[in-house]
């Protein structure tokens, strides 16, 4: 379905994690700040001050130690629980502008809004400014707003708003003069276009398509032959013809991954088994939340890929269940058994985890003739009881194995974790 007169907003929180931290700790304002991934490994969010120190996205902390020390960069662990609550409020505010069918929370810090139905009654740029100001006042989060005739165009508009302070954080491509639009498109690298990956960008560049403008001027049908229908759609979208609708229900999951790296190095099989049993239970919880069954599981272990002194050890193994399951005990049993096969002595393990695949909706599953229903029912009763306890008392109160006992050898380290101001025990404290 192609539409020429749609209007999309893309609203995006600037440096989301750092901005969230600053709401509750304003002493971080105007300072270089980075937020680290789980286990304090890599920089996953950077304040503008850190970006201008040339700290790149995803760089491991040990590689930037000198910059951090020299410029007093504030280093924080990621406080995902807090970011998630701020994200919920961010999406809720945007949801108040349109109906539920017209808003798509795209990620923790990005949201699409389909504003087509209201275009005639409003000045689009004004609406964008209103959204920006409301989110700033209510939540203290700075955002940029991009407005375009398609989702892809609204993404580019957002990019323009971010890079050019003159726009005051809101860029409306719908009412922009076409000449100006071409000018801005000619300044942006083609790899910035939504849906164009690094791989495609290389191929495009080899064809002489370097900027967004070059791509927007390409012939969609010819490009479809050289790439795929997706590329043709992207080109239409850049030309202001909407091909990608707002998605209300995210397509059902193809796989669930639960893994984390360890706080310290782990060498013992028993420790690995404890860790993987926790990740198996995390994965199981998500599987049950989505009302899916899992037919196949992959278990994997890894050593530290950044350690130049020892070869990288990375092993995985796949196993399938005789009957698709959503029972934590099955997953823990399988994961610990699979670990026996991929464990090698003398390795310093940095990470392990499980991947659940072969997923299908629980409601649609047809059991075969020989299924022992009594057994399945028993397991379901047990899992329901466990879910009930988790909902009431938190997910670490009961589990399979000793994995929820705190401070295990493999527990995650988050030394620089800020407080969670949405818990009674950790409220923001006003000292003056």
């Amino acid at each position: 379905m192609k539409h020429e007169n749609k209007v999309f907003f893309l609203i995006d929180v600037n440096n989301m994690y750092v901005s969230c931290e600053r709401v509750f700790d304003p002493s971080l304002n105007n300072k270089p700040v980075i937020v680290l991934s789980n286990n304090d490994g890599c920089a996953v969010a950077r304040s503008n001050e850190s970006k201008s120190l040339n700290i790149k996205m995803g760089v491991p902390l040990f590689q930037i130690k000198d910059i951090v020390q020299k410029h007093n960069v504030v280093v924080l662990s990621s406080n995902y629980v807090m970011y998630a609550e701020m994200s919920r409020r961010f999406h809720k505010i945007l949801g108040s502008y349109v109906t539920a069918e017209e808003v798509e929370p795209y990620s923790i810090d990005e949201c699409f809004v389909d504003f087509t139905a209201y275009e005639k009654n409003f000045d689009l740029e004004k609406v964008g400014q209103e959204m920006r100001q409301q989110i700033w006042k209510w939540l203290g989060l700075p955002v940029c707003v991009g407005i375009g005739r398609s989702k892809t165009e609204s993404k580019i508009a957002n990019h323009i708003a971010k890079k050019n302070p003159g726009f005051n954080s809101v860029c409306d491509l719908v009412s922009m003069d076409p000449c100006n639009k071409e000018y801005y498109f000619s300044l942006i690298d083609v790899s910035e276009v939504w849906g164009v990956g690094r791989k495609h960008a290389k191929k495009l560049q080899s064809m002489g398509i370097n900027t967004v403008l070059d791509l927007a001027c390409a012939e969609p049908r010819e490009m479809q032959k050289k790439f795929s229908i997706v590329m043709a759609r992207t080109i239409y979208e850049l030309q202001g013809i909407s091909c990608i609708e707002i998605e209300h229900t995210p397509p059902s999951k193809k796989q669930i991954v639960a893994s984390r790296s360890f706080g310290g190095r782990v060498t013992e099989l028993a420790d690995l088994k404890e860790a993987i049993s926790m990740y198996a239970q995390d994965a199981c919880k998500r599987l049950r939340d989505e009302k899916l069954l899992c037919g196949c599981m992959i278990a994997f272990v890894q050593s530290n890929p950044f350690d130049p002194n020892v070869p990288f050890y990375n092993e995985s193994i796949t196993g399938s269940f005789s009957e698709p399951t959503d029972c934590a005990i099955d997953f823990v049993k399988a994961a610990t058994r699979m670990l026996n096969d991929i464990y090698k002595e003398g390795i310093k393990y940095k990470k392990c985890g499980v991947v659940l695949t072969g997923l299908e909706p629980k409601s649609g599953h047809t059991y075969d003739l020989l299924t022992d229903f009594e057994h399945i029912e028993k397991k379901e009763c047990l899992m329901e009881a466990m879910d009930g306890i988790h909902n009431k008392f938190g997910k670490t109160k009961i589990g399979v194995g000793p994995c929820f006992i705190p401070n295990r050898n493999w527990s995650m380290s988050r030394d620089r974790l800020s407080r969670n101001p949405f818990r009674w025990e950790e409220l923001l404290t006003i000292k003056n």
Partner: protein, 175 residues
């Protein structure tokens, strides 16, 4: 616990699971009267019921007839959930306004602060809770405790209102 809802609906709308309670139904209900069977899951939410009308002493009617709605503390204390934050106080500067150490404040960021509001504010990126005063000289922050100084802005200092305090939660019985 099974709850059975009885309504006058036709056979076609009956779920197959109803067959299991057939013996019960034959005791008095026609099968077609049952609309649905719902599992009732007891929850832990504490609701405080209150009477809509006063009941005069000796009136025979049971109190339940007057109970219509339960008290919801969130609804009572928080007008705009999305913009509301709760903070804890560690200062005596607002003691005479009834704000003590360890009290919790409900702060609504969506409100526009006006003269006389108690606000959580930022001065030089430091949090403070004070009464906002707006007069001909501009904005200043008033402490509600003679032992604390009011805050008047110095050259180059900026006052940022973080949020307006709407409520104080004070635990009276210390545990």
């Amino acid at each position: 616990m099974l709850q059975i809802q009885v309504r006058g609906y036709s056979m076609s709308e009956i779920a197959p699971s109803i067959i299991q309670i057939k013996p019960y139904l034959t005791q008095g209900f026609a099968l077609s009267d049952v609309m649905s069977i719902k599992l009732v899951v007891p929850t832990t939410h504490m609701l405080v019921p209150y009477a809509l009308e006063k009941i005069s002493a000796g009136f025979p009617s049971p109190a339940q007839d007057y109970v219509d709605k339960a008290l919801d503390m969130n609804e009572h204390l928080i007008k705009n959930e999305t913009a509301t934050f709760i903070v804890k106080v560690a200062s005596l500067s607002m003691l005479n306004a009834g704000i003590d150490i360890d009290d919790e404040l409900i702060v609504d960021r969506s409100l526009d602060a006006k003269h006389g509001d108690i606000v959580v504010a930022l001065i030089d990126n430091d949090f403070t809770v004070k009464r906002l005063m707006i007069d001909e000289s501009g904005q200043w922050l008033k402490a509600e405790n003679p032992e604390y100084k009011n805050i008047y802005l110095q050259e180059g200092q900026e006052l940022i209102i973080w949020g307006v305090v709407t409520c104080v939660i004070k635990m009276i019985r210390k545990s």
